[in-house]
């Protein structure tokens, strides 16, 4: 595993070349659906046309929003080959280091998530669904030292998290498929920025209702598409996170779905779930757009020295300054949002009631 980075990139390039269909990235999309997947209404409008702004993999994506119930969703959505193509080298592989750095910045957000639940109970055990490499349990341990944390994820990161001692048990696979085997066994099940990545959020919520014990709690945090900031930044608003995010549930729809499954919402946080990153991310998008990494294996090979230089300068000289400004603006916006109690995400804590 001590391969040279150039060798790894060359290998990755071969994979990406082979994976790209002859018809281009459009072949990664399923047929467009004409009705809302949440409520069935045919009254849809286009909310966003965007691209992959982080890795700059090829392809164009559309998010539509239902005029009846407000549900927003990727339409046409990625097929399984497409998901594989766009997730590859994001959280693992070539992208592992970058995503680990980004996750490390969210330490305080993770502590907040743990504190929000600790206000309601001191759980014996806690399952974090979509745990990735186990960053949340790692920080949550500081707040809840006596709680046993388990993790569930589709990726190999969950095994690594066990290896590093961040979680006790790692469940690898799809939550709806694993749920029956762990039914009723957890005091708390959390889904932080997870539901929006799934293809069928209702099936995930069914699984959630199965796994949380009666009297236990669920904690869900996800992007809030009602955010004004999202309108202002358009496709450069990071919560759109195309092409990974498949579904954006308006708060009311999520709450309704929880109540239907026997949960009673005990806390809804809006500004407390806001992360002050919108403009800083927009700055990164600008840099990756105007000074892309020439080594990206999913792009045509480019070896000109100036491209390499431009990429280096952008990150070493331009980004630190731009980020300082944009972070300052993010903080200023955060103060304004605090007064309105809104943000780019919401967090719901709900108690599973006895039937």
């Amino acid at each position: 595993m001590t391969e040279d980075i150039d060798e790894r990139i060359a290998k990755a390039r071969a994979w990406y070349d082979a994976a790209m269909p002859d018809a281009g990235p459009a072949a990664f999309l399923e047929p467009r659906r004409t009705t809302c997947p949440w409520c069935g209404s045919p009254a849809l409008r286009i909310r966003l046309r965007g691209r992959d702004l982080i890795q700059r993999k090829p392809g164009r994506f559309t998010v539509e929003q239902c005029r009846s119930c407000g549900h927003a969703f990727q339409n046409p959505r990625l097929n399984l080959a497409g998901l594989d193509y766009y997730y590859r080298d994001f959280y693992d592989g070539l992208g592992a280091e970058i995503s680990a750095t980004v996750f490390a910045l969210s330490a305080e957000d993770n502590r907040k998530r743990a504190r929000a639940v600790a206000a309601h109970l001191q759980p014996d055990n806690w399952l974090d669904v979509g745990t990735g490499h186990g960053h949340f349990p790692y920080y949550a341990k500081e707040i809840l030292p006596d709680t046993v944390f388990d993790g569930l994820d589709l990726s190999a990161g969950v095994e690594e998290a066990v290896h590093h001692g961040r979680i006790r048990t790692g469940h690898r696979g799809l939550f709806p498929e694993l749920a029956p085997s762990i039914a009723g066994t957890y005091d708390v099940v959390s889904m932080h920025h997870y539901l929006e990545h799934t293809r069928d959020p209702r099936a995930e919520l069914d699984a959630l209702a199965l796994v949380v014990r009666e009297g236990g709690y669920a904690e869900i945090e996800m992007p809030d598409v009602a955010s004004r900031l999202g309108r202002a930044l358009g496709s450069w608003w990071v919560p759109w996170f195309q092409p990974q995010h498949q579904h954006f549930l308006p708060l009311s729809n999520l709450l309704g779905a929880l109540v239907e499954r026997g949960f009673r919402p005990v806390s809804v946080q809006r500004h407390d779930a806001h992360s002050t990153v919108d403009l800083t991310w927009a700055t990164t998008f600008a840099i990756t757009k105007w000074a892309p990494d020439p080594r990206s294996p999913w792009k045509p090979e480019r070896t000109q020295h100036w491209r390499k230089r431009r990429h280096e300068l952008a990150w070493s000289k331009v980004f630190p300054r731009a980020a300082r400004v944009s972070h300052g603006l993010d903080v200023a916006i955060d103060r304004a949002l605090a007064r309105l109690d809104v943000g780019n995400a919401y967090r719901v804590i709900a108690r599973k009631e006895a039937r």
Binding site: T35, P37, S41, S68, L255, G256, V259, F263, R264, V268
Partner: protein
């Protein structure tokens, strides 16, 4: 048949009113506050704690005593009676509404709805040719009577917990009567109907979603659930406040905005195939508001749940209802004039949804 109709249509006599005074006095001896359950602090639909008062009102239909409140959820838009009437309370306020003293009035209202009933029956034509149709909450079966002229080969059955449903069979309006709660009877009825209709029914139930679950189970894949409900988001309804009929009908426990209902249907594998908003509007808002105002100003002094009539209250009642007809007429004319405007804007006081039960194997269609 005409004979029985006349018996129904006959307004109650003074003796009918007087006879009921004693039982009502007894029922109200401990006050009417006990008919209300404790108020809830979170939305029964989505659980959010962000509630606002939508309207406060007395009983504007029967003028029975008591004060009521409708709340609206600021998160999901759900409107609901809060505090809610207990089962005992509902029995008290339902009494003499569809039956007894109220029978002649409600019968007259239902008898004049032929065109509405027919339009409901017609609306399913593009989707299904019904063979077996169950109308849940059918009352006496007035809908089935009028729908038969649109679908002469269809068998209409009715379900209701009142005894009107047996009356409907006796009159030949319904083929079969199922008397009781739908939830209790549904298992025996499963798979027998290709259309199950619920017109102005769900809003009367304490848990509308549980009823949708029952309906979804009772339908075979490919079967249809057909709903009509008041739309709490309707602009004129909000403007009329307590005078808007769906609010001042105390039997209405929940008023669901369309998106909430659609999502609840989809969650149960019921795919909405047809939604009508403006086209389903019933031009009665101002008419009913004026009548409610009349009942507020000049209640019938004979009503057995109100203090005994005095010379003054008798005279006031007579004066109010002498002056009322032209006002009601004007209100109705305005309602008729507004109807096409609402239809053009795609809004109305009710909405209709036709939803098809999807094949459970086929998750992608939901």
């Amino acid at each position: 048949m005409t004979e029985v109709m006349d018996e129904w249509a006959a307004p109650p006599t003074d003796a009918d009113f007087a006879r009921l005074r004693e039982p009502y006095t007894a029922a109200m001896a401990d006050g009417v506050q006990r008919f209300l359950q404790p108020a809830v602090t979170s939305c029964p639909w989505c659980g959010s704690g962000r509630l606002a008062v939508r309207t406060r009102l007395p009983d504007l239909v029967q003028r029975k005593p008591g004060r009521f409140r409708f709340d609206v959820c600021r998160t999901c838009g759900h409107v609901f009676q809060n505090p809610r009437l207990s089962p005992e309370g509902l029995a008290f306020y339902y009494r003499d509404f569809y039956d007894g003293l109220g029978a002649s009035t409600t019968h007259t209202i239902f008898a004049y709805q032929t065109e509405i009933y027919r339009s409901r029956a017609r609306a399913v034509a593009p989707f299904v040719t019904p063979r077996q149709w169950l109308d849940v909450g059918c009352g006496h079966g007035h809908f089935a009577k009028d729908a038969q002229s649109i679908w002469p080969d269809t068998a209409f059955d009715g379900l209701d917990f009142g005894d009107g449903v047996q009356e409907g069979v006796r009159r030949g309006w319904l083929r079969t009567a199922h008397r009781g709660e739908f939830a209790d009877l549904a298992a025996d009825l499963a798979g027998r109907y290709d259309v199950i209709s619920m017109f102005h029914y769900l809003e009367h139930l304490p848990d509308p979603r549980a009823e949708l679950t029952v309906a979804a189970r009772a339908l075979a894949p490919g079967g249809y659930l057909y709903l009509e409900l008041p739309d709490p988001t309707f602009v004129l309804g909000r403007a009329l406040g307590p005078l808007w009929t769906p609010c001042h009908t105390l039997q209405h426990l929940h008023l669901m905005p369309l998106p909430n209902l659609l999502a609840a249907l989809t969650a149960r594998g019921l795919v909405p195939v047809h939604v009508e908003r403006g086209a389903a509007h019933l031009p009665i808002d101002l008419t009913c508001a004026v009548m409610a105002l009349g009942l507020l100003l000049g209640p019938d002094p004979r009503l057995p749940w109100r203090p005994k009539g005095t010379t003054l209250s008798v005279r006031r009642h007579r004066m109010v209802w002498k002056a009322a007809p032209p006002v009601i007429k004007a209100a109705y004319a305005t309602d008729r004039k507004l109807a096409p405007l609402f239809a053009a804007a795609g809004v109305g006081n009710v909405y209709r949804v036709l939803a098809r039960r999807a094949d459970p194997q086929d998750r992608s269609s939901t």
